[in-house]
Protein backbone atom coordinates (compact mmCIF):
# COMPACT_ATOMS: atom_id res chain seq x y z
CA UNK A 1 0.00 0.00 0.00
CA UNK A 2 1.57 3.27 -1.01
CA UNK A 3 0.46 6.78 -0.21
CA UNK A 4 -1.48 6.69 -3.44
CA UNK A 5 -4.11 4.39 -2.03
CA UNK A 6 -4.29 6.28 1.23
CA UNK A 7 -5.24 9.53 -0.34
CA UNK A 8 -7.80 8.98 -3.05
CA UNK A 9 -9.23 12.30 -4.10
CA UNK A 10 -12.43 12.05 -6.02
CA UNK A 11 -14.35 14.11 -8.47
CA UNK A 12 -18.00 13.45 -9.02
CA UNK A 13 -19.93 14.13 -12.18
CA UNK A 14 -23.58 13.52 -12.80
CA UNK A 15 -23.80 12.34 -16.38
CA UNK A 16 -27.57 12.09 -16.55
CA UNK A 17 -28.52 10.48 -13.34
CA UNK A 18 -31.80 10.87 -11.48
CA UNK A 19 -29.93 12.38 -8.48
CA UNK A 20 -30.37 9.24 -6.45
CA UNK A 21 -26.77 8.09 -6.79
CA UNK A 22 -25.49 11.67 -6.60
CA UNK A 23 -26.95 12.31 -3.23
CA UNK A 24 -25.65 8.97 -2.07
CA UNK A 25 -22.17 9.92 -3.25
CA UNK A 26 -22.50 13.10 -1.25
CA UNK A 27 -23.87 11.16 1.70
CA UNK A 28 -20.65 9.15 1.72
CA UNK A 29 -18.79 12.32 2.63
CA UNK A 30 -21.07 13.23 5.50
CA UNK A 31 -20.92 12.11 9.12
CA UNK A 32 -22.98 8.99 8.52
CA UNK A 33 -20.25 7.37 6.44
CA UNK A 34 -17.35 9.83 6.39
CA UNK A 35 -15.13 8.47 3.65
CA UNK A 36 -12.50 10.97 4.70
CA UNK A 37 -11.50 8.16 7.06
CA UNK A 38 -10.04 6.57 3.94
CA UNK A 39 -8.40 9.84 2.97
CA UNK A 40 -11.07 10.63 0.41
CA UNK A 41 -11.47 14.29 -0.43
CA UNK A 42 -14.11 15.50 -2.81
CA UNK A 43 -12.04 17.91 -4.88
CA UNK A 44 -14.55 18.88 -7.49
CA UNK A 45 -11.60 19.62 -9.74
CA UNK A 46 -10.39 17.11 -12.31
CA UNK A 47 -6.81 18.33 -12.02
CA UNK A 48 -6.62 17.26 -8.40
CA UNK A 49 -8.59 14.07 -8.63
CA UNK A 50 -7.51 10.44 -8.68
CA UNK A 51 -10.91 8.80 -8.87
CA UNK A 52 -13.66 9.84 -11.21
CA UNK A 53 -17.05 8.91 -9.81
CA UNK A 54 -19.60 9.08 -12.59
CA UNK A 55 -23.27 8.59 -11.99
CA UNK A 56 -25.99 8.22 -14.53
CA UNK A 57 -26.11 7.13 -18.11
CA UNK A 58 -24.37 9.05 -20.83
CA UNK A 59 -26.53 11.33 -22.88
CA UNK A 60 -25.49 13.05 -26.05
CA UNK A 61 -24.71 16.36 -24.45
CA UNK A 62 -22.53 15.19 -21.61
CA UNK A 63 -20.39 12.88 -23.70
CA UNK A 64 -17.78 15.55 -24.37
CA UNK A 65 -17.89 16.81 -20.82
CA UNK A 66 -17.01 13.39 -19.44
CA UNK A 67 -14.21 13.07 -21.96
CA UNK A 68 -12.81 16.49 -21.01
CA UNK A 69 -12.89 15.79 -17.30
CA UNK A 70 -11.22 12.45 -17.82
CA UNK A 71 -8.51 14.00 -19.98
CA UNK A 72 -7.80 16.69 -17.44
CA UNK A 73 -7.21 14.22 -14.63
CA UNK A 74 -3.57 13.45 -13.97
CA UNK A 75 -2.34 9.86 -14.26
CA UNK A 76 -2.82 7.44 -12.59
CA UNK A 77 -6.59 7.75 -12.55
CA UNK A 78 -9.49 5.41 -12.06
CA UNK A 79 -13.06 5.66 -13.23
CA UNK A 80 -15.81 4.32 -11.03
CA UNK A 81 -19.25 4.04 -12.58
CA UNK A 82 -21.71 4.47 -9.75
CA UNK A 83 -25.13 2.99 -10.12
CA UNK A 84 -26.63 0.83 -12.78
CA UNK A 85 -27.30 3.72 -15.14
CA UNK A 86 -23.59 4.45 -15.26
CA UNK A 87 -22.95 0.76 -15.89
CA UNK A 88 -25.50 0.01 -18.54
CA UNK A 89 -27.91 2.85 -18.86
CA UNK A 90 -30.14 1.13 -16.34
CA UNK A 91 -33.79 1.94 -16.40
CA UNK A 92 -33.19 4.76 -18.87
CA UNK A 93 -31.47 2.48 -21.32
CA UNK A 94 -34.31 2.66 -23.77
CA UNK A 95 -34.65 6.45 -23.71
CA UNK A 96 -33.93 8.12 -26.99
CA UNK A 97 -31.36 10.50 -25.57
CA UNK A 98 -29.37 7.92 -23.65
CA UNK A 99 -26.29 6.53 -25.31
CA UNK A 100 -25.55 3.84 -22.75
CA UNK A 101 -23.15 3.32 -19.89
CA UNK A 102 -20.08 5.38 -19.11
CA UNK A 103 -17.86 2.80 -20.77
CA UNK A 104 -19.17 3.97 -24.11
CA UNK A 105 -17.11 7.13 -23.61
CA UNK A 106 -14.21 6.39 -21.30
CA UNK A 107 -12.73 3.19 -19.89
CA UNK A 108 -14.39 2.20 -16.63
CA UNK A 109 -12.42 0.40 -13.95
CA UNK A 110 -15.03 -0.34 -11.32
CA UNK A 111 -18.79 -0.74 -11.63
CA UNK A 112 -20.89 -0.13 -8.55
CA UNK A 113 -24.34 -1.69 -8.80
CA UNK A 114 -27.48 -0.41 -7.18
CA UNK A 115 -30.39 1.85 -7.93
CA UNK A 116 -29.63 4.02 -6.19
CA UNK A 117 -26.19 2.71 -5.23
CA UNK A 118 -25.97 2.52 -1.47
CA UNK A 119 -23.23 4.55 0.27
CA UNK A 120 -21.70 1.29 1.45
CA UNK A 121 -21.57 0.05 -2.12
CA UNK A 122 -19.93 3.27 -3.20
CA UNK A 123 -17.36 2.91 -0.42
CA UNK A 124 -16.68 -0.64 -1.61
CA UNK A 125 -16.29 0.71 -5.11
CA UNK A 126 -13.77 3.30 -3.98
CA UNK A 127 -11.83 0.69 -2.00
CA UNK A 128 -11.75 -1.52 -5.04
CA UNK A 129 -10.61 1.45 -7.11
CA UNK A 130 -7.64 1.91 -4.80
CA UNK A 131 -6.29 -1.44 -5.90
CA UNK A 132 -6.64 -0.46 -9.52
CA UNK A 133 -4.92 2.83 -8.77
CA UNK A 134 -1.95 1.02 -7.25
CA UNK A 135 -1.73 -1.27 -10.24
CA UNK A 136 -1.82 1.61 -12.69
CA UNK A 137 0.85 3.46 -10.78
CA UNK A 138 3.12 0.43 -10.96
CA UNK A 139 2.52 0.12 -14.68
CA UNK A 140 3.28 3.79 -15.09
CA UNK A 141 6.52 3.53 -13.15
CA UNK A 142 7.45 0.50 -15.23
CA UNK A 143 6.75 2.26 -18.51
CA UNK A 144 8.79 5.23 -17.42
CA UNK A 145 11.83 3.18 -16.53
Amino acid sequence: MSALSKSPWVIHYDASSCNGCDIEVLACLTPGFDVERLGVVNTGNPKHADIFLVTGAVNEQCREVIRTIYDQMPEPKVVVAVGICAATGGIFRECYNVAGGIDSVIPVDVYVPGCAARPEAIIDGVVQALGVLEKKQKERAWVRN
Binding site: S2, A3, L4, K6, S7, W9, L29, T30, P31, D34, E36, R37, L38, G39, V41, N42, T43, G44, N45, K47, H48, D50, Q72, M73, P74, E75, P76, Q137
Partner: protein
Protein backbone atom coordinates in the same frame (compact mmCIF):
# COMPACT_ATOMS: atom_id res chain seq x y z
CA UNK B 1 20.48 29.82 19.76
CA UNK B 2 22.73 30.26 16.78
CA UNK B 3 20.63 31.87 14.05
CA UNK B 4 21.87 29.55 11.34
CA UNK B 5 21.11 26.56 13.46
CA UNK B 6 17.58 27.61 14.28
CA UNK B 7 16.89 28.48 10.66
CA UNK B 8 18.15 25.05 9.67
CA UNK B 9 16.06 23.45 12.38
CA UNK B 10 13.03 25.28 11.02
CA UNK B 11 13.71 24.20 7.49
CA UNK B 12 13.97 20.58 8.57
CA UNK B 13 11.29 20.43 11.21
CA UNK B 14 8.64 22.75 9.85
CA UNK B 15 7.30 20.35 7.22
CA UNK B 16 6.89 17.67 9.86
CA UNK B 17 5.27 19.97 12.38
CA UNK B 18 3.23 21.73 9.73
CA UNK B 19 2.02 18.45 8.28
CA UNK B 20 1.03 17.17 11.68
CA UNK B 21 -0.74 20.43 12.40
CA UNK B 22 -2.61 20.07 9.14
CA UNK B 23 -3.52 16.55 10.20
CA UNK B 24 -4.74 17.80 13.58
CA UNK B 25 -6.71 20.46 11.78
CA UNK B 26 -8.48 17.94 9.60
CA UNK B 27 -9.16 15.60 12.47
CA UNK B 28 -10.37 18.28 14.77
CA UNK B 29 -12.57 19.80 12.08
CA UNK B 30 -14.02 16.37 11.41
CA UNK B 31 -14.74 15.86 15.09
CA UNK B 32 -16.53 19.19 15.20
CA UNK B 33 -18.68 17.85 12.39
CA UNK B 34 -19.26 14.68 14.42
CA UNK B 35 -17.25 12.40 12.20
CA UNK B 36 -13.92 10.74 12.91
CA UNK B 37 -11.96 12.25 10.04
CA UNK B 38 -8.77 11.02 8.40
CA UNK B 39 -5.69 9.65 10.13
CA UNK B 40 -3.37 12.19 11.71
CA UNK B 41 -0.72 11.63 9.06
CA UNK B 42 -3.18 12.03 6.20
CA UNK B 43 -1.55 15.26 4.93
CA UNK B 44 1.70 13.36 4.44
CA UNK B 45 -0.10 10.69 2.44
CA UNK B 46 -1.65 13.42 0.34
CA UNK B 47 1.63 15.14 -0.36
CA UNK B 48 3.48 11.91 -1.07
CA UNK B 49 0.74 10.88 -3.43
CA UNK B 50 0.69 14.22 -5.20
CA UNK B 51 4.43 13.99 -5.63
CA UNK B 52 4.02 10.82 -7.63
CA UNK B 53 1.18 11.97 -9.79
CA UNK B 54 1.35 13.29 -13.28
CA UNK B 55 1.89 17.03 -13.60
CA UNK B 56 -0.97 18.42 -15.62
CA UNK B 57 -0.78 22.12 -16.40
CA UNK B 58 -2.69 24.66 -18.40
CA UNK B 59 0.44 26.69 -19.28
CA UNK B 60 3.90 25.26 -19.35
CA UNK B 61 5.66 27.82 -17.20
CA UNK B 62 3.06 28.09 -14.46
CA UNK B 63 4.87 25.73 -12.10
CA UNK B 64 8.07 27.78 -12.02
CA UNK B 65 6.23 30.35 -10.00
CA UNK B 66 5.15 27.72 -7.53
CA UNK B 67 8.71 26.53 -7.06
CA UNK B 68 9.73 30.04 -6.14
CA UNK B 69 6.72 30.42 -3.93
CA UNK B 70 7.91 27.44 -1.93
CA UNK B 71 11.54 28.59 -1.90
CA UNK B 72 10.59 32.04 -0.71
CA UNK B 73 8.23 30.80 1.96
CA UNK B 74 11.01 28.61 3.30
CA UNK B 75 13.33 31.58 3.07
CA UNK B 76 10.81 33.73 4.95
CA UNK B 77 10.42 31.25 7.75
CA UNK B 78 14.15 30.72 7.88
CA UNK B 79 14.67 34.47 8.24
CA UNK B 80 12.11 34.58 10.99
CA UNK B 81 13.58 31.77 12.98
CA UNK B 82 17.07 33.08 12.42
CA UNK B 83 15.90 36.18 14.23
CA UNK B 84 16.14 38.57 11.32
CA UNK B 85 14.34 41.84 10.76
CA UNK B 86 10.58 41.39 11.04
CA UNK B 87 9.80 43.86 8.27
CA UNK B 88 12.05 42.02 5.89
CA UNK B 89 10.35 38.80 6.90
CA UNK B 90 7.01 40.32 5.98
CA UNK B 91 8.34 41.60 2.70
CA UNK B 92 9.78 38.22 1.87
CA UNK B 93 6.48 36.59 2.67
CA UNK B 94 4.74 39.09 0.43
CA UNK B 95 7.15 38.31 -2.35
CA UNK B 96 6.44 34.62 -1.90
CA UNK B 97 2.70 35.19 -2.03
CA UNK B 98 3.12 37.24 -5.17
CA UNK B 99 4.87 34.39 -6.89
CA UNK B 100 1.96 32.18 -5.98
CA UNK B 101 -0.50 34.69 -7.35
CA UNK B 102 1.46 35.20 -10.54
CA UNK B 103 1.53 31.45 -11.02
CA UNK B 104 -2.23 31.41 -10.85
CA UNK B 105 -2.41 34.30 -13.31
CA UNK B 106 -0.04 32.47 -15.59
CA UNK B 107 -2.35 29.48 -15.63
CA UNK B 108 -4.85 31.78 -17.35
CA UNK B 109 -7.95 29.93 -16.33
CA UNK B 110 -10.93 31.90 -15.12
CA UNK B 111 -11.11 30.08 -11.82
CA UNK B 112 -7.46 30.37 -10.92
CA UNK B 113 -7.63 33.97 -12.06
CA UNK B 114 -10.48 34.84 -9.72
CA UNK B 115 -8.65 32.94 -7.03
CA UNK B 116 -5.61 35.09 -7.67
CA UNK B 117 -7.62 38.30 -7.53
CA UNK B 118 -9.26 37.22 -4.32
CA UNK B 119 -5.92 36.22 -2.87
CA UNK B 120 -4.78 39.74 -3.65
CA UNK B 121 -7.80 41.17 -1.91
CA UNK B 122 -7.01 38.99 1.06
CA UNK B 123 -3.44 40.21 1.04
CA UNK B 124 -4.70 43.74 0.95
CA UNK B 125 -6.93 42.87 3.89
CA UNK B 126 -4.29 41.38 6.17
CA UNK B 127 -1.15 43.22 5.10
CA UNK B 128 -1.87 46.39 7.13
CA UNK B 129 -2.50 44.36 10.26
CA UNK B 130 0.62 42.28 9.78
CA UNK B 131 2.74 45.38 9.30
CA UNK B 132 1.13 47.05 12.27
CA UNK B 133 1.97 43.99 14.35
CA UNK B 134 5.60 44.48 13.47
CA UNK B 135 5.29 48.18 14.28
CA UNK B 136 3.67 47.40 17.61
CA UNK B 137 6.41 44.97 18.51
CA UNK B 138 8.98 47.56 17.56
CA UNK B 139 7.35 50.17 19.74
CA UNK B 140 7.61 47.91 22.74
CA UNK B 141 10.99 46.38 22.14
CA UNK B 142 12.67 49.14 20.09
CA UNK B 143 13.81 46.62 17.57
CA UNK B 144 12.49 44.98 14.46
CA UNK B 145 14.81 42.04 14.88
CA UNK B 146 12.97 38.89 15.79
CA UNK B 147 15.90 37.88 17.97
CA UNK B 148 15.59 41.05 20.02
CA UNK B 149 11.81 40.77 20.20
CA UNK B 150 12.04 37.20 21.40
CA UNK B 151 14.61 38.27 23.96
CA UNK B 152 12.44 41.06 25.33
CA UNK B 153 12.04 40.48 29.06
CA UNK B 154 8.35 41.42 29.33
CA UNK B 155 5.33 39.71 27.85
CA UNK B 156 4.53 41.57 24.68
CA UNK B 157 0.89 40.71 24.78
CA UNK B 158 0.35 42.80 27.88
CA UNK B 159 1.23 45.98 26.04
CA UNK B 160 -0.12 44.80 22.70
CA UNK B 161 -3.46 43.15 23.44
CA UNK B 162 -5.22 44.90 20.57
CA UNK B 163 -2.46 44.12 18.14
CA UNK B 164 -2.57 40.51 19.27
CA UNK B 165 -6.29 40.26 18.60
CA UNK B 166 -5.87 41.93 15.26
CA UNK B 167 -3.05 39.55 14.45
CA UNK B 168 -5.26 36.57 15.27
CA UNK B 169 -7.77 37.97 12.82
CA UNK B 170 -5.08 38.23 10.17
CA UNK B 171 -4.02 34.70 11.07
CA UNK B 172 -7.46 33.41 10.17
CA UNK B 173 -7.07 34.99 6.74
CA UNK B 174 -3.51 33.74 6.29
CA UNK B 175 -4.54 30.21 7.18
CA UNK B 176 -7.15 30.44 4.41
CA UNK B 177 -9.84 29.43 6.80
CA UNK B 178 -13.52 30.12 6.73
CA UNK B 179 -14.88 32.82 6.89
CA UNK B 180 -11.93 33.99 4.80
CA UNK B 181 -11.38 31.02 2.53
CA UNK B 182 -12.15 33.23 -0.42
CA UNK B 183 -9.29 32.49 -2.73
CA UNK B 184 -9.13 28.77 -2.23
CA UNK B 185 -10.91 26.58 0.19
CA UNK B 186 -10.18 23.38 1.99
CA UNK B 187 -13.80 22.59 1.52
CA UNK B 188 -14.99 21.05 -1.64
CA UNK B 189 -17.99 23.13 -2.43
CA UNK B 190 -16.89 26.54 -3.43
CA UNK B 191 -17.93 28.80 -6.21
CA UNK B 192 -14.30 28.91 -7.32
CA UNK B 193 -13.80 25.14 -7.44
CA UNK B 194 -10.27 25.17 -5.98
CA UNK B 195 -9.70 28.85 -6.61
CA UNK B 196 -6.11 29.85 -6.89
CA UNK B 197 -4.88 26.26 -6.91
CA UNK B 198 -7.34 25.07 -9.55
CA UNK B 199 -4.80 24.61 -12.30
CA UNK B 200 -2.02 23.07 -10.25
CA UNK B 201 -1.84 19.35 -10.04
CA UNK B 202 0.48 16.64 -8.81
CA UNK B 203 3.92 17.78 -7.68
CA UNK B 204 3.07 21.47 -8.03
CA UNK B 205 0.11 21.06 -5.74
CA UNK B 206 2.31 19.16 -3.31
CA UNK B 207 4.69 22.10 -3.29
CA UNK B 208 1.85 24.48 -2.54
CA UNK B 209 0.74 22.25 0.29
CA UNK B 210 4.22 22.03 1.79
CA UNK B 211 4.63 25.78 1.41
CA UNK B 212 1.46 26.23 3.43
CA UNK B 213 2.87 24.01 6.15
CA UNK B 214 5.99 26.10 6.30
CA UNK B 215 3.91 29.24 6.33
CA UNK B 216 1.68 28.00 9.12
CA UNK B 217 4.55 27.06 11.36
CA UNK B 218 6.09 30.45 10.76
CA UNK B 219 2.82 32.18 11.59
CA UNK B 220 2.39 30.22 14.79
CA UNK B 221 5.97 31.15 15.60
CA UNK B 222 4.86 34.72 15.34
CA UNK B 223 2.03 34.09 17.77
CA UNK B 224 4.69 32.70 20.09
CA UNK B 225 6.57 36.00 19.90
CA UNK B 226 3.76 37.72 21.76
CA UNK B 227 4.44 35.45 24.72
CA UNK B 228 8.13 34.86 24.16
CA UNK B 229 9.06 36.00 27.64
CA UNK B 230 7.45 32.88 29.06
CA UNK B 231 8.28 30.09 26.61
CA UNK B 232 5.74 27.53 27.81
CA UNK B 233 3.04 30.15 27.67
CA UNK B 234 4.14 31.00 24.17
CA UNK B 235 3.82 27.43 23.00
CA UNK B 236 0.47 27.12 24.69
CA UNK B 237 -0.73 30.34 23.11
CA UNK B 238 0.38 29.20 19.67
CA UNK B 239 -1.47 25.96 20.15
CA UNK B 240 -4.58 27.68 21.42
CA UNK B 241 -4.47 30.14 18.57
CA UNK B 242 -4.36 27.20 16.19
CA UNK B 243 -7.36 25.56 17.85
CA UNK B 244 -9.21 28.85 17.83
CA UNK B 245 -8.57 29.22 14.13
CA UNK B 246 -10.05 25.78 13.53
CA UNK B 247 -13.07 26.48 15.68
CA UNK B 248 -13.74 29.71 13.85
CA UNK B 249 -13.31 27.85 10.59
CA UNK B 250 -16.13 25.57 11.62
CA UNK B 251 -18.62 28.09 12.91
CA UNK B 252 -18.70 30.66 10.15
CA UNK B 253 -20.08 30.89 6.69
CA UNK B 254 -17.69 32.24 4.09
CA UNK B 255 -17.89 35.99 3.85
CA UNK B 256 -18.03 37.95 0.65
CA UNK B 257 -14.88 39.75 -0.30
CA UNK B 258 -16.33 43.16 0.46
CA UNK B 259 -17.29 42.13 3.97
CA UNK B 260 -13.98 40.37 4.51
CA UNK B 261 -11.98 43.36 3.34
CA UNK B 262 -13.89 45.94 5.29
CA UNK B 263 -13.98 43.75 8.36
CA UNK B 264 -10.25 43.18 8.29
CA UNK B 265 -9.57 46.88 7.89
CA UNK B 266 -11.94 47.74 10.65
CA UNK B 267 -10.22 45.30 12.98
CA UNK B 268 -6.86 46.68 11.91
CA UNK B 269 -7.97 50.22 12.64
CA UNK B 270 -9.77 49.52 15.88
CA UNK B 271 -7.56 46.92 17.50
CA UNK B 272 -4.24 47.33 15.75
CA UNK B 273 -4.12 51.04 15.29
CA UNK B 274 -5.99 51.70 18.53
CA UNK B 275 -3.36 49.78 20.42
CA UNK B 276 -0.55 51.63 18.72
CA UNK B 277 -2.23 54.95 19.32
CA UNK B 278 -2.56 54.09 22.99
CA UNK B 279 1.08 53.11 23.14
CA UNK B 280 2.09 56.34 21.46
CA UNK B 281 -0.09 58.49 23.69
CA UNK B 282 0.35 56.90 27.06
CA UNK B 283 3.88 55.66 26.94
CA UNK B 284 5.64 58.43 25.05
CA UNK B 285 8.91 58.17 26.94
CA UNK B 286 9.37 54.67 25.58
CA UNK B 287 9.60 55.59 21.97
CA UNK B 288 11.19 58.99 22.14
CA UNK B 289 14.53 57.32 22.37
CA UNK B 290 15.86 59.45 19.57
CA UNK B 291 16.54 63.07 20.55
CA UNK B 292 14.97 65.86 18.60
CA UNK B 293 16.82 66.60 15.36
CA UNK B 294 20.28 67.90 15.84
CA UNK B 295 20.31 71.65 16.15
CA UNK B 296 20.31 73.24 12.77
CA UNK B 297 23.29 75.39 13.52
CA UNK B 298 25.49 72.35 13.66
CA UNK B 299 25.01 71.71 10.00
CA UNK B 300 28.01 73.20 8.35
CA UNK B 301 27.26 74.48 4.90
CA UNK B 302 30.88 74.38 3.93
CA UNK B 303 30.92 70.64 3.81
CA UNK B 304 31.87 67.64 5.76
CA UNK B 305 35.57 68.17 5.95
CA UNK B 306 36.05 71.58 7.48
CA UNK B 307 39.57 70.61 8.50
CA UNK B 308 40.81 70.89 4.97
CA UNK B 309 40.10 74.57 4.67
Amino acid sequence: MNPWLSALLYILAAPVVGGLLAGCDRRLSARMQSRPGPPLVQPFYDVLKLGRKENVVARRSQNHYILFFLLLVVFTGGLFFAGADLLLVIFALTLAAIFFILGAYKASSPYSFIGAERELIQMMAYEPMVLLTAVGMYLVTRSFAVADIAGHPALLVTSLPGVFLGFLYALEIKFRKSPFDLSSSHHAHQELVRGITTEFSGPALAMIEVAHWYENVFLLGWVYLFFAAVPWLGLLAALLAFVAVILVDNVFARLKWQTALKGAWLVTLVFGFGNILALALFAPEKHQARPAPVAVAVADPSGEKPAEH
